[in-house]
């Protein structure tokens, strides 16, 4: 009896992963349930879900056409007809915010699918191969990290020209290095684990080990990092929009809405208050979610 217990020692749990493969789905479901138990992360889940619903069902939720101008009703304060008031062209702010969720999701989605794989690839290769590969990759990462990301994004957008796609590229360029560093650190801890060594002894190629073993092991902390990164992406995108370098009018991007609302803000506070609150809420949701996920998937970091 004693001996079976030592075999189940958590230190060897890594090796047990392959036999747990079929139940990976239940692991995620279990994790999700656990996540929802914490009121903070649960509220994050709810807000993100709301954001998704808003984006998908925008025409159903919005009370007005977000681009329709009504010059007879400009700068109207919040009322039953216009819940969040109207802007300088008489457009309904609530509807613009609802449609703006599409822009936000678009940015988050694009940045994440660019940054995730790039960061993972560079990080795991750096960590796994070590030596000069590591040195070169990490020096490049260092250079990118030594710029404050907003300033670098600003410079890139300025260079590429204002616009939503360029903003996405600029944000992606500035946000892969922390992901790469994380993936590298993770890889270093797994590189010499018995289970990777076992795969090497079986003759698995480096690339097979990188993609089948190490990348999968890095996934939990990577997901946490990317979720938290989404919060930053939202803020950076909004900042670019605010400075007039991101999404261009009349696209209802929240940051750009604040930017145009700025001229009227002292008299018509609702022009900036509501889009900003939306940015904050969504960014907060991703932070809460990331925080909750970290506690769940990555218990090492406290």
């Amino acid at each position: 009896m004693k001996s079976t217990e030592t075999l189940k020692n958590p230190g060897y749990a890594l090796g047990a992963r392959s036999e747990a493969q079929p139940s990976r789905m239940t692991f995620w479901i279990k994790s999700f349930k656990k996540l929802c138990k914490n009121p903070l992360s649960a509220s994050g889940v709810v807000i993100v879900a709301l954001l998704l619903v808003c984006a998908i069902a925008a025409p159903l939720i919005a009370t007005h056409n977000p681009l329709e101008q009504d010059l007879g009703r400009i700068l109207a304060s919040p009322s039953l007809a216009h819940w969040f008031g109207t802007d300088e062209y008489g457009r309904d702010i609530f509807s613009r915010i609802v449609y703006g969720s599409r822009v936000t999701l678009y940015i988050i989605f694009l940045v994440t699918i660019i940054v995730g794989p790039i960061g993972l690839l560079i990080g795991t290769m750096s960590g796994y191969f070590g030596g000069w590969v590591d040195s070169v990759f990490m020096r490049i990462t260092d250079i990118f990290i030594s710029f404050p990301s907003l300033v670098l994004a600003l410079a890139f957008v300025a260079a590429l020209g204002p616009g939503l796609e360029h903003a996405v590229i600029a944000i992606a360029i500035t946000s892969w290095p922390p992901v790469a560093r994380l993936a590298r650190a993770e890889t270093l801890t797994f590189r010499n684990s018995d289970y990777v060594v076992a795969a090497q002894l079986q003759g698995a190629s480096s690339f097979r080990i990188l993609f089948h073993y190490i990348s999968l092991m890095c996934l939990p902390s990577l997901i946490v990092r990317l979720t938290m990164n989404m919060a930053t992406v939202i803020l950076t995108a909004a900042a670019l929009g605010f400075l007039g370098l991101g999404a261009q009018p009349p696209l209802p991007e929240w940051g750009a809405m604040i930017s145009t609302g700025r001229s009227y803000m002292l008299e018509s506070w609702w022009l900036v208050a509501f889009p900003g609150a939306a940015i904050m809420l969504v960014s907060l949701a991703f932070n809460l979610l990331g925080d909750g996920l970290r506690d769940l998937l990555d218990p090492r970091t406290e």
Partner: protein, 338 residues
């Protein structure tokens, strides 16, 4: 021991040089990518084609790109950053002129960040898992999630338009502009040195809101870091020793645990200061604060290539310097590394 420390320093310097080289390369790439004709930017749109050709060659734009890159490196290393089109003066002069305003703003902001963040973090760590800890978590997450430019505007609406507590945009009331001698470029210091109390209070009214709002972000950062540093220390064995001695909880926390995180905190504050510069770009735009951040955004929007490249390079340098500083501080103040 000495040998390893020596090689550590060499390594560090090597890394810094590579980073600087990378910064230069990156700004060069950004400059080349800019959709602005640098020649037109210098001579203006009305100049004839022969002047254009002349300036084109003068600027070395007819040479291969790697030669241009070489010239660029040479110019940068000799401290020649060119002239800003917007102001017509050398970019370096411009940056030095606007810098005090930003340093003043960021310094007050970092005081806010440390003054609120450290107690918050210590409180959360000592109340781990309890209501206060959860509240701190929510507060700091809010700090991470709020767009700083938006808070700035909301602040202006509430405290300037509605309550009239804060001063309007700018560093000081119009009436006091030029009414005191500029010794340092920091208005709070200069007004005091000039003995002009009214001007001092005007400057204070103007800086309070932007500095407070700028500092909120670092409150979150410093607060969270303080919390996790403290938690790490509080789980150490020597904390138990301190309790066994019969020390009060307060002494255990401040005399023992906190003393151990001071150096770590110092390095974090250096990094947070860099983060403030980033926030300053946005806050200065909102508050029409005539500092480095506004200079950078103005140059960006005007497509002033020289000014943008030099500004980006400058901020990169500041970051490298702050990183280095945090390393040095660590080595200097931690008895374990002496």
């Amino acid at each position: 021991m000495t040998r390893s420390r020596y090689s550590g320093v060499v390594r560090k310097i090597g890394v810094i040089f590579i980073t600087l080289f990378g910064l230069l390369t990156m700004t060069f790439v950004i400059g080349r990518l800019m959709p602005i004709d640098p020649v037109l930017a210098v001579i203006g749109p009305d100049a004839d084609s022969s002047t254009y050709q002349q300036v084109f060659e003068q600027m070395g734009l007819d040479r291969p790109i790697w030669v241009q890159y070489f010239y660029y490196l040479q110019a940068m290393l000799s401290g020649d950053f060119g002239r800003a089109i917007l102001t017509g003066s050398p970019v370096v002069d411009d940056i030095l002129r606007v810098l005090p305003a930003t340093i003043e703003l960021a310094s007050i902001a970092i005081m806010v960040g440390v003054g609120l963040g450290v107690p918050l973090g210590v409180y959360a760590a000592t109340h781990r898992g309890r209501l206060g800890d959860h509240l701190t978590r929510v507060i700091t997450l809010f700090g991470y999630s709020t767009p700083v430019f938006w808070v700035g505007m909301v602040g202006l609406i509430i405290f300037y338009a509605w309550l009239n507590w804060a001063g309007a945009a700018g560093r000081i009331g119009f009436a006091y502009d030029g009414m005191f001698t500029s010794y340092t470029g920091f208005y709070l210091v200069d007004t005091l040195l000039s003995g002009n109390l009214e001007a001092f209070f005007s400057a204070l009214r103007h800086i309070a809101l932007p500095a407070l709002i700028l500092g909120l972000n670092s409150v979150s950062f410093i607060g969270r870091m303080t919390r996790s540093f403290m938690l790490e220390q509080l789980s150490q064995e020597y904390i138990k020793t301190a309790r066994v001695k019969g020390l009060s909880e307060r002494s255990v926390i401040w005399k023992h645990a906190f003393k151990n995180i001071r150096v770590q905190l110092l390095t974090i504050v250096a990094l947070a200061y860099g983060g403030l510069l980033e926030g300053a770009v946005l806050i200065e735009t909102v508050f029409a604060w005539p500092g480095f951040g506004q200079y950078l955004t103005d140059s960006l929007l005007m497509g002033d290539m020289n000014a943008v490249m030099a500004s980006v390079l400058f901020i990169g340098l500041v970051f490298v310097f702050l990183n280095l500083l945090s390393d040095v501080l660590y080595k200097l103040f931690d008895p374990r590394t002496q």
